[in-house]
Amino acid sequence: MDATILLLLLQDGVVNGAIYALIALSLVLVFTVTRVILIPQGEFVAYGALTLASLEAGTLPGTVPLLLGLGGLAFLADCAEGRHTLDGRGLLRLALRDLALPALVAAAAWILAPTKPGLAVEILLTLAIVTPMGGFLHAVAFRPLAHASVLVLLIASVGVHLALTGLGLVFFGAEGSRTPPLSEASFPAGPLLVSGQSLWMIGLTLAIIVALWLFFSRTLLGKALIATAVNRLGARLMGIAPSLAGRLSFSVAAFIGALSGVLIAPLTTVYYDTGFLIGLKGFVAAIIGGLASYPAAAAAAILVGIIESVASFEASAFKEVIVFMAIIPVLLWRSLRSAPVEDEE
């Protein structure tokens, strides 16, 4: 391996690492706020990529009926949850959020999809379709288990992952899709050719990180999420409902997942089940960050990307093995360094 190849591999690793970083950040967010290890994060990625691909092809994405269905289920779950406190206005708010909003998005997709409105509109539409699913899934599958142990939540998470993968197969079929790049431009940089696509990926990742930072440090809602992560009871006593915090963090995760899907769709062919492996690599990074630290998770994600690209060059058959084995020394080091973490409560 010479210097040029190493640079190429590094570039590749950083670009992939950017996606893993986005996923790792959402995993940390969801885990600290709700104690759920969000295995289905990868499905949001796949849904984002596949939704964009069908919009590109001018067809109505399969995620649209899924969104409507999930919204209906979430409405029932919300009504059951609020049965003692719900008044007319509350019911109206739920109906707007769970039924009217998805219907509006579906109508927009139905009208716009055949007209092929251009990449920018299609990306916005993709985000609008996938993002609400996060909150709906939380309401349907996780809120009723809010008091369960981390292990039970993990099992529920695996269940949701399997369900969403199956639904992905039903709605999108077994064929993979790929979308045109966000930018065809490329810039020479020394021996490298930097593509516009990779600049978009790194730029948007940085933008999301800055946006998350602003959200957490400048807005009361963002601080409420951190407060819930730091002290659940303290947050409840301030009137911050765990269900609100959970719903919000799931929505943010779905948004970031869909955006990651939009970003990787031009790079690789995405199938209904591609998200799982991408999500797992983000998970490796999140684990290296202890499922608690955002900067550590993001830095570890870049590292995972680089390990992956170097491994795929040096020993491509063992690429995944090497990436996932990287987690073992980290876990060893973590468990030797810190006292065992007890399950909360």
Binding site: H84, T85, L220, L221, K223, A224, I226, A227, V230, N231, L233, G234, A235, R236, L237, M238, G239, I240, A241
Partner: protein, 249 residues
């Protein structure tokens, strides 16, 4: 007595088969300071947690005529109930100022929460430490922050669980002065204390809890004069015992 603000009737709380609170009835009138006294393990903390909705309870609970029984903690906060728990439950890795801002969370869409400037005037120590992490504060400062954070939510009924716990006598006096001043400003207060002497000095009315039941009730002067109270709670038990935090936490 005026119409009560908080009315609890036959409230019972059980941990598994052990009943920690058995059929307690009590009421707090608007603008009054009511104290619940009792020894370690009498069920005081359990009772407050049940009133706040942190623990499920049997019996009826009404706040300003509204049935609380099925409302979760957050909905009770929205009505104007507030609990400062024994363990304070601060956001330890966040700054003092962020803790205070979150205290006004229930007003985030409507406005009308507490005023930071006013709070800092009331608690000058917190103003000095506003950029510090809450976890770095001393015990007395933590209690001040817990009270200030609760006040940011403009509670109508403030419940305090052992605010004097683990504090030096001078600071206990300051905490009690603050509690009395809040009452004078019109906030109804339910004060749970093991430090009976300090609590009765500022309270209007008191209940004595033993084994999860109310064994004595009266206005604070009567209680102070009561021989049984004097003997059991104003003697050596009125002072601090260091192992309480572990036992009741």
């Amino acid at each position: 007595m005026t119409v009560p603000m908080l009315e609890a009737h036959a409230v019972s709380v059980a941990y598994g088969k052990v009943e920690a609170v058995r059929g307690v009835s009590l009421s707090v009138a608007p603008g009054r300071l009511v104290t619940v006294l009792g020894a370690n393990g009498a069920g005081k903390t359990t009772l407050l947690n049940a009133l706040m909705g942190v623990l499920p309870a049997k019996g009826t609970l009404r706040f300003e005529g509204r049935d609380l029984t099925r409302l979760p903690v957050e909905a009770r906060v929205a009505l104007g109930l507030s609990l400062i728990p024994e363990r304070r439950e601060l956001f330890s890795t966040m700054t003092v100022e962020d803790n205070l801002k979150l205290g006004a969370f229930r007003f985030r869409t409507t406005g009308g929460g507490g005023d930071l400037g006013e709070i800092y005037r009331l608690f000058p120590r917190l103003a000095e430490r506003r950029r510090q992490q809450a976890g770095t504060l001393s015990g007395g400062e933590r209690q001040m922050l817990a009270m200030a954070r609760a006040l940011m939510g403009r509670p109508r009924l403030l419940m305090l669980d052992e605010p004097s716990l683990g504090l030096a006598p001078l600071i206990v006096a300051e905490v009690m002065r603050t509690v009395a001043r809040l009452r004078d400003e019109g906030v109804a207060i339910l004060l749970v204390e093991q430090n009976a002497r300090a609590a009765l000095r500022i309270a209007d009315h008191g209940y004595v809890l033993d084994g999860g039941r109310v064994v004595l009730e009266g206005d604070s002067r009567t209680l102070q004069a009561d021989a049984r109270v004097a003997e059991t709670y104003l003697g050596s038990l009125g002072a601090e015992t260091p192992d309480r935090a572990a036992a009741t936490g």
